[in-house]
Amino acid sequence: MKPLNNADALAVIKDSITQIIPDADFTLVEPDDKFRDVLELDSLDFLSLIELLSERTGVRIDEEDYPELTTLSDAARFLVDRTTVRS
Amino acid sequence: MTATRTRTAGPTAPGDRKTTYREAMREALREALRTDERVFLMGEDVGRYGGCFGVSLGLLEEFGPDRIRDAPLSESAFVGAGIGAALAGMRPIVEIMTVNFSLLALDQILNNAATLLHMSGGQLPVPIVIRMTTGAGRQLAAQHSHSLEGWYAHIPGLRVLAPATLTDARYMLAPALADPDPVLVFEHGTLYNASGELPADAGPVGIDRAAVRRAGADVSLITYGGSLPKALAAADDLASGGISAEVVDLRTLRPLDDATIGESVTRTHRAVVVDEGWRTGSLAAEIAARLTEQHFYDLDAPVERVCSAEVPVPYARGLEEAALPQVGGIVAAARRAVGEPAPTETGTPERPPVTGREG
């Protein structure tokens, strides 16, 4: 598992979302917006996102962690923490 | 696997052995008789006469009349006796003079050799090898010239081999004898005199796979037995015209090696099947059908077939030649397949009709 810095983490998240929603427009999403609402990710999309993120970062994401993934900034912080603390 | 092209007489490598197809076959028989006392050779004139085509010449003197056994002209009886002896633990090699005569023993080959294992629920394997000549080209007319190996390739329970090279003539017999089931070996009459060098490193061969005798990119010439030299000659001719032909030697007509055939056509996208049998219901038809079943979306042209004309093979030289697949016809078919028909002034033969009477 490679430690991520905040920029890396944000890039991974955005890239993963783009894979699920090809035309996702991040200019509409403020760092503290609930991106699920803004980008209209349904529960299946969100599950796909979790799948992609854990695949790409190696971070294990449990259901209990989902609340950490509400905004882009929270999500990035979550990934940074998990990749640095545990590696 | 090492393959020798019988057609060419390239420079002799040190240790290569100059030989003929006939001698290679005889050497295979001699080796089998020497190494396994259960092996014996039985057939019409295999002993004192030395074999109708001279294959077994000298073996009687070496192995005696019990093991080089002249049989009366009773194809059914001696083929059936071979089957019975195989059931009782022997490893008989039965020679039938030509495939046309084998029809007199067809009952034994089909109803017994090919059937007993299954019909007995697995109790009675029949480890027999039946050799016979096949094919035309020697002006022997309609009762000595046909290519009926495709019929035998129709029959489950048989393995059907068609050695076309010196190496296969020399080395296919041993695995055939080792096979617990009946194996038919078809030796094309025009190959016996083929001569060349048996490579020093030639050795045991398998009897499961076809062989690519010449690699190419534009079209696959799929053939076997007596048509292999013709296909190789055609490939040379095509190469001079800028067409790269791959030549696949089937070697084993049953079970067919779909993988090797398919891989070749997947590369070249075009196939010409050359088969001296009659076109209708032929082995060529089987191969064409399999190609469309398994490789339809790889095909860039209809599968071409070059087969014998639908006529009993005639005696007169000109007629016989016209009845058989020839290099020119193979070249023309290959050119059609790659979409470069030969210029008309060379008199490209028309594509033959699919069935029935010619012309």
């Binding site: - | 019975g84 633990g89 022997m90 009952d107």
Partner: protein, 341 residues
């Protein structure tokens, strides 16, 4: 015209000195087993439990049973499609035969042969050939192998008068005599090649005479008399083992039932059948044994009960036996497929 055989005994035959009543009873039991087994087969065929072609041996039991007395376990038997009797006499269990006819995996050919193709390699019983005459070259080959390896064994080939018209008989007779093969050729002449009477398919109906023309020892035998059959077969087998080459026995016999279950039997006179039934080999032997006080009514009843129970068990077992899974369809086409798990 009703077909009959000219009674003639083997030239060298003398009534065997078979004093042992036990042996005579054993012959009776063996013949009666064939008879009762086949009678049950008819029932089961009618109930559609057995299908395909089924040819009954009823009337000819003395031949199979008598000839088998002359053979050892090492000898080989090649038979025809009318082979229930040969198989049972050879010792193939009734259960295995019945299961085969039921098409079950426990059948002696794993359900792939049926009535016409019974095999038992362990008992050197090579079937079960339904091509008339097709078994003859095979038998010559078995004999040839023994001859070449110096094994003291006899191969016995049964075939009918119909096969006498096939080239394969003549090719084989010549080959066997030419090479002096240890082959016992037993022609079951029941006077009909399917529905064609002997005189309508053979120019010369004395088959033993013609076989002698190939240069082999050849006798005609009363095939309705098990003692005569046994006696001739023993003498022939002794001759073969002594190295005098193939022997030919023409067993003059008769089938009481039609050619097969499909056969309406239009070509035979009822009177002819009744005439031959008077010479029923099974009841004839039973009568002789009763007269000789070797078989009591009680003994007969016990024998019948025993056989009935044996056949009941065979039917029951066949009924219960599993079928070969269809997934194994391609098994045994080649040895590679046979050994595939």
């Amino acid at each position: 015209m009703s077909a009959t055989h000219t009674p003639r005994s083997p030239r060298t035959a003398s009534r065997p000195n078979r004093q042992a009543a036990g042996h005579r009873l054993a012959l009776l039991e063996s013949m009666l087993r064939v008879r009762r087994f086949e009678e049950r087969c008819v029932e089961l065929y009618s109930a559609a439990r057995i299908r395909g072609f089924m040819h009954l041996y009823i009337g000819e039991e003395a031949v199979a049973v008598g000839v088998n007395e002359a053979l050892t376990d090492d000898d080989a038997v090649v038979s025809t499609y009318r082979e229930h009797g040969h198989a049972l006499a050879r010792g193939v269990p009734a259960e295995a035969i019945m299961a085969e006819m039921f098409g079950k995996v426990t059948g002696c050919s794993r359900g792939r042969g049926g009535s016409m193709h019974l095999f038992d390699a362990g008992r050197r019983f090579y079937g079960g050939n339904a091509i008339v005459g097709g078994g003859l070259p095979l038998a010559a080959g078995l004999a040839l192998a023994d001859r070449m390896t110096g094994r003291d064994r006899v191969t016995c080939c049964f075939f009918g008068d119909g096969a006498f018209a096939e080239g394969e008989f003549h090719e084989t007779a010549n080959l066997a005599a030419l090479w002096g093969l240890p082959l016992l050729l037993v022609c079951e002449n029941n006077l009909y090649a399917m529905g064609t009477a002997l005189a309508r398919h053979q120019a010369q109906t004395d088959l033993a005479l013609r076989a002698a023309g190939y240069g082999m020892v050849s006798w005609a035998v009363d095939g309705m008399d098990v003692f005569a059959v046994e006696d001739a077969a023993r003498k022939a087998a002794e001759g073969i083992r002594a190295g005098t080459g193939p022997h030919f026995l023409e067993m003059r016999t008769y089938r009481f039932r039609a050619h097969s279950m499909y056969d309406p039997d239009r070509y035979r006179d009822k009177g002819e059948i009744e005439h031959w039934k008077e010479r029923d080999p099974v009841e004839g032997l039973a009568r002789r044994l009763r007269e000789a006080k070797e078989l009591t009514d009680k003994g007969r009843t016990a024998l019948e009960d025993r056989l009935a129970a044996e056949i009941d068990r065979a039917v029951e077992a066949a009924d219960q036996a599993p079928e070969e899974p269809v997934g194994d369809l391609l098994k045994y086409v080649t040895s590679a497929e046979a050994s595939r798990p």
